[in-house]
Amino acid sequence: MADDTILKLHKATKAFGGLLAVKDFDLELPRGSLQGLIGPNGAGKTTAFNLITGLIPTTSGSIEFEGERIDGLESFEITRLGVARTFQNIRIFANLSVLDNVRVAYHAHAGYGLADSLARSRRFEKKEAELTEKALDFLSIFKLADIADEEARNLPYGQQRRVEIARALACDPRLLLLDEPAAGMNPREILELMDYIHFIKDRFSLTILLIEHQMRVVMGICEYLTVMDFGEAIARGTPKEIQSNEVVIEAYLGKGAGKSAAS
């Protein structure tokens, strides 16, 4: 593709009444990059994710995915175009088996209609078997195949995160949005997660944008960072640059803190 920007936000704005949760937010993601979106609590990071995935409509501005406008589309349509996400507080289908969690993601590409399933046609049998086999292969990539029949709510926290990421990847995305993947994880799990993110990025040739508070993750794996505060991008740069950026330190720690932190 000539244009190698996979996602482009131009002056994206979201107003909740008088509050501008996201204000004139610009973002460009080159294909194959791994970028981070950071900022203090309430800075509008998750809202930006919700705008990209269409869970809430934009007030103004535009969002382009692979050169096509996606703002105004329904979120399920955006997912089908190739944008998948995970959630800050895990939103797994708790009472479904791990296998079914993944199979739900194949719904749009099931390849059979309602009439096929009601009549159990040959087409249904064939496609359903294919789909299940695909899901099981998929689970074995993530070493989740052994617990495929387990109900998702019975899994430990770290595994639930992995199931959620696996489920998002089953949507066959080219862009993956991870909302605080390391939240609530201990240092060992965080290290595993970082390996895991690298692994899926290479394996599925993804572009990844992630929100994270754990500086170890952000500084460890992100190639480029955008810092948000009060709905606006206040700084951009490599992790090194951001670490010494005075505006950022001010946003996190308050005015005057920059000097003492720098010294």
Binding site: L55, R80, L96, A108, E128, D149
Partner: protein, 473 residues
């Protein structure tokens, strides 16, 4: 007498549950002939039991048969509601309304037919088909025109279906009149009134009633399903009340004088009469084949069809999406599930089953009263569904049987032995039993357990099957 009756009823209920278990187990077999054999055997068993007499007394008296019949119609309504509430997570009280709509729709068709008037069948059949075409047409149109708000879409659908209805009435009535000479009239009944034709008309009427209820649920569900679950529940309560009110006023504000409003519709042909239990005086065991009627054939057919269809629906990609919507709507949207469409589809499917159940019910009773479709009675299927286990098809079936036999069979008759006031105690004992059961098993009788045919295939079983297939090759 009381103790004997108690033991008898419990034994019958147990036998029926075992029968259901056997049916579901047989249907879960791999080969087609095994499934077919199961269906035939299950039907043969139930039919034989019904026709059996021991010492001149039927094993299943007319009263017991009535209970069994009620249990099966309740199963259909409850399965539909479980689909909506248990599998899709949309709390609905409208199910009983669709049951009423189905009952009156089917009853009107066969009532008119038995009185030498084909207009009910022709107009309703035509209306349902035109209505479906109109809905699909508008749907395709709206799909091309993106971003139409729900209420505008609703207006389009409503206008389309009203036009379809008017057209069906305008074309259907003369069409039916022109067919009259061919079929005979009330005075000189021709093919119209022959018992065989009647059975076919009955089948068509039930299917049309289901489709009619489904289309009504589409129009109602489209704007209302976008509400959150609790608000949706209140809206469905409103729908149930509207249906009841309309049924009370069928002869005044609706143009159906034959439904006789609040006085109740009488003269519906009883197409599902049960084998007469009193005939046969011989002592010892006897099968009264002479008393056979097609009633159980129909009821069994619809029962199995409902089981198969609902299982095929739930155990498909659409069914999984419905479950995902129940678990977490936002996550389902993020997984590429069209939540609005999925909810509407499930709602329509569930209402279809309710409509079919109503259609069957009308032809057993031969009499319909709007009072039976009061929204208070609408809590019955809800109780059955919660009682059996939300999200368990088996639970709904077993709870329907248990509920009917417990409430109607056991308590009413048992307490009836005690005196005239005693039957009122039934509605005290029954809620106590309900509370106790919910305390002991908060997830319902069966939780999410499924039997045989209705079970989901887990990964381990799928792997085993695939391995067996590979070995076979």
């Amino acid at each position: 007498m009381e103790l004997g009756y108690l033991i008898g009823t419990v034994a019958k209920m147990g036998a029926l549950v075992a029968w259901i278990y056997g049916l579901l187990w047989g249907l879960s077999r791999e080969r087609k002939w095994q499934k077919a054999l199961t269906i035939v055997a299950a039907f043969a068993v139930i039919q034989l039991v019904i026709l059996s007499r021991v010492g001149g007394l039927a094993l299943f008296s007319a009263f017991d048969q009535g209970l069994l019949f009620q249990a099966i119609t309740m199963t259909m309504v409850a399965l539909g509601l479980n689909l909506i509430y248990g599998f899709n997570g949309q709390f609905s009280l409208a199910q009983w309304g669709f049951y009423g709509i189905g009952a009156y729709c089917a009853a009107d068709i066969t009532y008119r037919w038995s009185n030498g008037d084909a207009s009910g069948l022709v107009v309703a059949g035509l209306g349902v088909m035109l209505g479906a075409a109109a809905l699909f047409g508008v749907g395709a149109f709206l799909k091309r025109k993106r971003g139409v708000p729900v209420l505008s879409a609703f207006t389009f659908y409503l206008i389309a279906i009203v036009i379809a209805g008017i057209v069906a009435a305008r074309i259907g009535q003369p069409l039916a009149a022109s067919m009259k000479s061919g079929f005979g009239t009330a005075d000189a009944p021709g093919a119209l009134a022959s018992p065989a034709t009647m059975q076919i008309v009955f089948f068509l009427a039930v299917v049309i009633a289901g489709a009619f209820a489904a289309e009504a649920s589409f129009i109602f569900g489209l704007p209302v399903l976008s509400l959150g679950s609790d608000y949706f529940g209140i809206a469905t309560l409103g729908f149930a009340i509207i249906v009841k009110t309309l049924l009370v006023n069928t002869d005044t504000i609706l143009p159906f004088p034959e439904m006789k409003g609040g006085r109740g519709m009488i003269g519906i042909p009883k197409l599902l009469p049960f084998a007469n239990a009193a005939d046969g005086e011989a002592s010892g065991f006897q099968v009264a084949l002479g008393a056979w009627t097609p009633a159980w054939l129909w009821i069994f057919l619809f029962f199995v069809l409902a089981l198969v269809l609902i299982r095929n629906f739930v155990r498909s990609s659409t069914g999984r999406a419905a479950l995902a919507v129940r678990e977490d709507e936002i996550a389902a949207r993020a997984m590429g599930v069209d939540v609005a469409k999925n909810k509407l589809l499930v709602f329509v499917a569930g209402s279809f089953l309710a409509g079919v159940g109503g259609g069957i019910y009308a032809h057993y009773m031969g009499f319909l009263s709007p009072g039976s479709f009061d929204f208070i009675a609408g809590f019955n299927p809800l109780i059955v569904v919660v009682f059996g286990g939300l999200g368990s098809m088996t639970g709904s079936i077993v709870a329907s049987f248990g509920w009917i036999f417990f409430l109607e069979g056991l308590l009413r008759v048992l307490l009836g032995q005690l005196g005239t006031d005693a039957p009122s105690w039934r509605l005290v004992l029954y809620p106590i039993a309900l509370i106790l059961l919910m305390l002991v098993r908060p997830k319902g009788l069966l939780g999410t357990v499924e039997w045989g045919f209705l079970k989901a295939e887990g990964a381990s079983r799928i792997r085993k099957k695939a391995a067996a297939k590979r070995e076979g090759d």
